[in-house]
Symmetry: C2
């Protein structure tokens, strides 16, 4: 049996003028994929009747399932609901459960409920309501000629909530299709081409139903194997054998056997070792602490940071010597060592990471060029340093500094830095 | 004359399995829009010859310009270049300038240059090369039957660089079309429905060529007026009159007359007042410092932060009293006041913001529910506090805490908090 296919249609002028980055499509695609549904295409269209109707007419023949997001808000630029009602030949009716929920939400937030909010309780009588605990616009499930069309609000957490609680379980009942398996190898330290070259023969040896993709991301390269086959047990065993073969070939550039963020790789090892960490961040401004605290339960091992953006904080809070700053500058091996040692004492943690650099666009000198970032990692007994050079813009340099910093610390803690 | 129209096609399986969030489309759309080019649709397709060819065939008749991103890397899952070469009836040739640049890049990074990297210097002889200073894959400009097709690498900063330096200037010469004007009103403190209700008559009074959109984002609502007309001066004056009318109607919930991030609103006022700021962050883990340092030149006013994630840092570094923590808890008005006062002294700044809360999913109690965040803002002479309640997931609660925190501080510094 071939896989169930889906197309995601996102609705909203804000997508076409670039005011909003579409995070919904990626999230929806991930969820569908896990359930063995292939996303064929994604289409974004504006808030006009014509654009939405054309997209429905063009995409409906191509797939088994359409998922629409956006265009369901209470304002008059949101026209999706009446349009879908007409499209499927229905009439709007008030849904009592949705109405109750609306009234309750407005009461809880002490806001007056307006006529236009009440209208959000109206749904086409030809759909099944997908209840929205988290917001005011309900989701809708339509069936037509054996195809499913799901309409969801565009607010990400509302959309996600309705998908998880309502739409995905219903889809699983409706399309009990064959699963897709993904396995990943997460690498750091080499480029995409170098890795591809090393894996030439393994890639050539893959059967037709297993595909290998290279996904470069902020200096890391993720390798993803995707397999599809009716025989799940055989497929799993084959794909995991290939995953291991790749990892063995790549050796010490492999940092994880799955596609998870670096902060989770770090978090996992910290939860296992029972030690504590803290940072001294300069150019990253707190971004590393942000990443680390994205992991629920980070309070078990992350104590805190000193964000010493200005040199006065490096001196007065972290205790970096005035002479060190004057002689070597803020972006230097000497300064990051003192920052790391200062943080170790002040935060009273087992390991620290310190970061100081010039991210750009300004602030570079002949001696310290834009993109130079010094880092130190320290424990009571040892300090290690590393100079990084990033070649991009401020935002991307910061992203790379944060991720490479967490990786540097993880390697230090786990004895993976070469001597 | 009607506007030039464009369709953005993004290529890559990673978009369809949700491994990558498409930030390119939004950026491209913004740039095209500024040049008066309307984006009609965005389509994302997988790395197969069939999918890419179908997308070209389907979208080319609909618009004047197609912009393709992705599928140009050195690995074998990237098939866009040979496909485009065939599609436009060309042959691959080696571009000497691109080849020189490739060799130079590999030398600078001390990496061996591989056969597959050399292949990146091959381009169809029927295109104009859009040179890529920042990476290995060149952009390509094709013309066919009066339409333009541009192919760009998918790596965001490379794509942006080629667009800015090469493609946009060429487009401006090729399509000197009529401009679109956007004007925004940025509000905080009221919901989309409430605002829409207040603006009913203004919205009804808009001429057909001016549109109003409501864009809710993390507790803020951005209102965007979009106008298109041949008479630029008349249009500008009309749209700005409507912008002012809206702002006057909404009064003190208006925080800016343009659509810029809160960190820039804060940064702009700090650059003007010559004062300094620093933070004491607990639950946000450094995220507020990250935002503030996204603004180039933030070093003029942002000194640093204490990220006191663990209570030991609140006590030992910020000097929060042990009794305060024991009596009122870490998430309390009393604690954030002491955090703000501690940071004021330690960081030696004019203003501080402190934040302590429970973002979830765990850590809530009967007294302090998940989503509760206390904040304090302080100067030498004054402290103000505010309790926030966020109702979402960990990530979104953190986002809202960071943005609302910056706004709270901005209001405090600019005398906009009600007495």
């Amino acid at each position: 049996m071939s896989n169930v296919t889906a197309i995601i249609i996102t609705i909203g002028d804000e997508l076409l003028i670039g005011q909003t980055i579409d995070t919904n499509s990626a999230w929806i695609a991930q969820q569908l994929n896990k359930q063995g549904i292939d996303v064929l295409r994604r289409v974004a269209v504006g808030d006009t009747k014509e654009a939405i109707t054309n997209a429905l007419n063009e995409e409906l023949p191509k797939a088994d399932l359409l998922i629409l997001t956006g265009g369901l808000g209470p304002t008059s630029d949101d026209i999706t609901k009446p349009l879908l009602c007409d499209y499927f030949g229905g009439k709007l009716r008030v849904d009592e459960k949705v109405l109750e929920h609306l009234k309750e939400m407005f009461t809880r937030r002490k806001r007056p409920i307006l006529e236009r909010n009440m209208k959000q309780a109206e749904v086409p009588d030809v759909c099944t309501v997908l209840f929205n605990d988290m917001g005011t616009a309900p989701g809708m499930w339509f069936e037509k000629d054996g195809k499913i069309i799901i309409s969801l609000p565009g607010v990400p957490f509302e959309m996600q909530h309705i998908m998880t609680k309502e739409a995905l379980p219903k889809l699983n009942d409706y399309f009990p299709g064959e699963p897709i398996i993904h396995r990943s190898v997460f690498t750091a330290g080499e480029g995409e081409s170098f890795i591809a070259e090393k894996l030439l023969d393994i890639e050539a040896s893959l059967p037709a139903y297993i595909k290998l993709a290279f996904l470069p991301d902020s200096g890391f390269v993720k390798l993803r194997l995707t397999g599809k086959d009716t025989d799940l047990i055989k497929l799993t065993s084959e794909i995991e054998a290939k995953q291991l073969e790749i990892a063995e070939r790549l050796g010490n550039i492999v940092i994880a056997m799955e596609d998870i963020p670096v902060e989770q790789i770090l978090g996992r090892s910290m939860k296992a070792n029972g030690k504590t960490i803290g940072f001294a961040e300069s150019c990253t401004g707190g971004y590393i602490g942000h990443y680390v605290t994205q992991v629920a339960g980070a309070s078990a091992y992350f104590m805190g940071s000193i964000v010493s953006y200005d040199n006065s904080i490096k001196q007065n809070v972290l205790g970096v010597k005035q002479e060190t700053l004057a002689t070597y500058g803020a972006v230097s091996e000497e300064t990051v060592i003192e920052m790391a040692q200062g943080a170790l004492k002040l935060l009273n943690v087992d390991y620290t990471l310190s970061v100081s650099g010039v991210l750009g666009p300004d602030g570079g000198t002949d001696r310290v060029k834009v993109g130079t970032v010094w880092m130190a990692v320290a424990s009571k007994n040892e300090v290690r340093t590393k100079e990084f050079k990033f070649f991009y813009d401020r935002e991307r340099n910061k992203e790379m500094a944060a991720k490479n910093g967490m990786l540097f610390l993880w390697k230090f803690i786990n004895g993976k830095l070469s001597a």
